[in-house]
Amino acid sequence: MRRPPWWVAGLTAVTLCLLHLPIAVLIASSFNRSRFAMRWDGFTLDWYSRLLERGDILEALRASLVVALVSTLLATVFGTLIALGLARHAFPGRRIYQGLLYLPIVTPEIVVGISLLVLFATAGVTLGLGTITIAHVAFNISFVAVVVLARLHGNGRDLEEAAMDLGAGPLTTFFRVTLPQILPGVIAGALLAFTMSFDDFVITFFVAGVGSTTLPLLVYSMVRRGVEPTINAISTIILAVTTIAILIAYRLREGESS
């Protein structure tokens, strides 16, 4: 594609700046001694140290991490298996299944959250970290499957067949040939699932119940009570965690395509 006209390039630059402005202001404000964005009263880590004093925040962070790790593990396994099944095997209804796999992605989060609330209420299951984890696995399976599937495109079974010809059993083939091949895609899917779980608000909101809180839920209730700089600090931390995960995923992609 040829170079864009100057005004298009200019518009793009402005848009990109505006895209990052709110986040930049947020991060900067978390280090600002003043509560007001316009006034810079000096650099401080006070808002961050206050976080460490808040047991509820630390508890919510711990809950978010545990839920994210467990749900990512399960969703990655299930999603990868689905992707392998779809990519490498022909069976009747394959196209339909692949289409249906997109349903959890397309369905509005509020519908997913409410329907799970309804399910748990009907079954008499107490809401808590367990139900949150179940919900996160449910919506992440499709994401992982789709990501891994995209990577599997064109990845033939030649190496597996060669290994089998050489006498390797199915399990050995899987762990020593298939898995290393698809690993970058699987990790990318896992990182995606992790960030989606860690950041999730809407679905978690409805299946969390009274006793348990994740970090996004806590941030939401804090925001509802009114803006305060501590929220900026937590937000910056959340941003940092997810950015690192995304950077890793991006690095993996670059490394794979080169």
Binding site: L11, V25, L239, I246
Partner: protein, 291 residues
């Protein structure tokens, strides 16, 4: 063991189902079943303290045709459509610029995608922080003496719109970029050698060929906007209610689970209808792989 392995190897279908089974079962139990139960709830009687009572009734669906709720539906459609339009207007030039950026492409794409991957809640809060009465926008305007007192930027339709566009812009940029990237420069050169001026070249060559990306991007923006909950909740306050908020109210203070289920079902039907229309109108136009 060996015989089982060989039998499995010979029966491709069984292996396929074996691989698909765990995930599929989970999805059936925790996605399909819940939606089905919710559908059943939507046609049941309302329980006294929330929940449902046995009894078939379509009263909840009938109630949705009240002007109050139709207005909410209308507002939802309107905001989603406007968001999509703004994303096209803002996102297309950005995608165009990135596609022509040469070696800066990947870095620029990363810059566009990065906010999208971070927490939606945090980004929505960031807009709140910016637009509130003592936020940066008002403070700057006051400092420049452009206004005398803070403008009410928050809790307006504009704030919700800003939040939605801000949240979903990358969804528009990426597909449009993908289809612009695949554009063969030779086509444009051919048009120019035949005498077409740049504007004509754009309108008659570039734009039509980037249509698949526009369709995909519009789909990726319109659909989530329909189901928006957090954005109108935080940025719109009590006045900018969209369907998502309506559903939440019914399961919260409203204590009308059947009505909430019905509204939720209507939202889902709306989304599926849009997907269906997009996929069939733009069936040939959709790209195979949308990154």
């Amino acid at each position: 063991m060996r015989r089982a392995a060989r039998w499995l190897a010979a029966h491709d279908r069984v292996r396929a189902w074996g691989l698909l089974a765990p995930g599929t079962l989970w999805l059936l139990a925790f996605f399909v079943l819940p939606v089905a139960i919710m559908g059943a709830y939507s046609a049941m009687e309302r329980g006294l303290y929330g929940g449902v009572e046995p009894g078939f009734t379509l009263a909840s669906y009938a109630r949705f045709f009240d002007p109050l709720y139709l207005r909410i539906l209308g507002r939802t459609l309107w905001l989603a459509a406007l968001t999509t339009l703004l994303c096209v207007v803002i996102g297309y030039p950005v995608a165009y610029a990135i596609a022509g950026a040469g070696r800066w492409k990947h870095a620029l794409l990363f810059l566009v995608v990065l906010p999208f991957w971070t927490s939606f809640l945090v980004r929505t809060y960031a807009i709140m922080f910016l637009l509130r009465d003592s936020g940066l926008v008002n403070s700057a305007l006051l400092a420049l003496s452009l206004i005398d007192e803070p403008l009410t930027l928050l809790y307006t339709p504009g704030a919700v719109l800003a939040g939605l566009v801000y949240g979903y812009l990358p969804f528009m940029v990426l597909p449009v970029y993908a289809s612009l990237e695949k554009l063969d420069p030779a086509l444009l050169e051919a048009a120019e050698s035949l005498g077409a001026r740049p504007v004509a070249g754009f309108l008659r060559v570039t734009l039509p060929l980037s249509l698949p990306g526009l369709v995909a991007g519009s789909l990726l923006v319109f659909i989530p906007s329909l189901g928006a909950f957090l954005t109108p909740d935080l940025l719109g306050g009590a006045r900018q209610v969209m369907i998502g908020n309506l559903v939440q109210q019914q399961f919260g203070a409203g204590r009308d689970w059947p009505f909430g289920s019905a509204a939720s079902f209507i939202l889902m039907a709306l989304v599926l209808a849009v997907v269906y229309v997009f996929l069939h109108r733009g069936a040939g136009a959709l790209p195979e792989e949308v990154e």
